[in-house]
């Protein structure tokens, strides 16, 4: 049966084996499809421009004190610096927003949204479950900025 397999035949055999031995979880594609509902067309994207956990951009990586992770987002003049502290499967974040007047802030995860108290441009959220997260920021004029999703 396996006698004289060519490289292409061996590759085909491996592909067939992978679909049995290591398939993507069936929930994964359905979950990815459902993400489409999270699209926000009314908000400007503040892109992730720096992540201390990103090995691909070591020249940009910055280390905070200890093991905290530092993330930077930018949209035009607006900037968000986010510090993430890790405690087992829990996360604390402190974000500092500059460049815009901040009226309200919402923390969004895949399971829901929570309003955050705004204190002079500083946002704090504690005891978060590890996973994807983003911030939605609104100005007094009503314009909105949303950060890139990050997995904390």
């Amino acid at each position: 049966m396996t006698i004289d397999l060519s490289d292409d035949e061996l590759s085909t055999r491996l592909s067939e084996i992978a679909t049995v031995a290591d398939p993507a979880p069936s929930t994964l594609a359905a979950a990815a499809g459902a993400l489409f509902g999270l699209r926000q067309l009314d908000a400007e994207l503040a892109e992730l421009i720096r992540d201390s956990a990103d090995a691909a951009t070591p020249e940009l990586a910055v280390r905070a004190d200890g093991d905290d992770r530092m993330l930077s987002f930018e949209a035009g003049a607006a900037a968000v610096e986010m510090q993430v502290s890790e405690r087992a499967d829990r996360r604390d974040i402190v974000a500092h927003v500059s460049g815009i007047v901040l009226q309200a802030a919402t923390l969004e995860t895949l399971s829901g949204q929570h309003s955050l108290q705004v204190d002079d441009g500083v946002l704090i959220a504690r005891d978060l479950v590890a996973g994807p997260l983003r911030l939605r920021l609104t100005t007094p004029a009503g314009s909105a900025i949303v950060t890139s999703w990050v997995r904390i």
Partner: protein, 198 residues
């Protein structure tokens, strides 16, 4: 087969950017296995691999109307997934148990690649064992090449950050190595590299 199988990836990206859920679903069904293969190629656990794939889809979602070349979305996704995997590895999450109650993927179990081995016939199980004993580089390349449907070499190059011209020769070397490992394990000359068999 889906009706969109004849549609280009770029057309799907543009339709999804215009708000069509179906086009998004088609992108997911077309490329999810590629992203999964990449994450597994980096040897992430089931939970970490699922997280990396999901984050890559989120990244595409927020960039749907920003991608400079929608036709090359597969390579874009491959690069994104590679980076997410490297982040996970750098943060030392490789062996960490998945926190309970996480995201929408609670149903994902904690199986390792080896567990699926139980479902395989003996001969295939030997092949899979030999594969999982290979170097990281070979395992990553071969695992990505195991994607169904087969990925473009451009996507493979993006996933491994290697020149397209190196893929063919590296694949050949890795398959030869796999045959040697199998021959050692099973003392079966049928696994000898091509050209060396009688």
């Amino acid at each position: 087969m889906r009706t969109s199988d004849t549609e280009t990836a770029g057309a799907l990206v543009r339709r999804a950017a215009a708000g069509e859920q179906h086009a998004w679903d088609d992108l997911v069904s077309r490329f999810n296995d590629l992203l999964w293969s990449i994450a597994r190629g980096f040897r992430l656990s089931t939970a970490d691999a699922a997280d990396a794939v999901q984050t890559s889809w989120l990244r595409l979602l927020e960039n749907l109307d920003r991608i400079s070349d929608p036709e090359r979305v597969a390579a874009w996704l491959a690069t994104t997934t590679r980076r997410e995997c490297l982040k996970t590895l750098q943060r030392g999450n490789r062996e960490r148990p998945h926190p309970a109650g996480h995201s929408t993927l609670d149903a994902v179990d904690g199986t390792t690649p080896v567990d699926g081995r139980l479902l395989l016939a003996e001969r295939d199980a030997e092949l899979w064992d030999a594969f999982t004993g290979m170097s990281d580089r070979c395992q990553c390349l071969l695992r990505v090449l195991m994607t169904t449907p087969p990925p473009s070499y451009e996507s493979v190059a993006a996933a491994l950050e290697m020149p397209i011209g190196s893929i063919g020769p590296t694949r050949a070397r890795c398959l030869a190595r796999l045959r040697s490992l199998l021959a050692e394990r099973t003392a079966d000359p049928a696994w000898q590299p091509e050209g060396r068999r009688a």
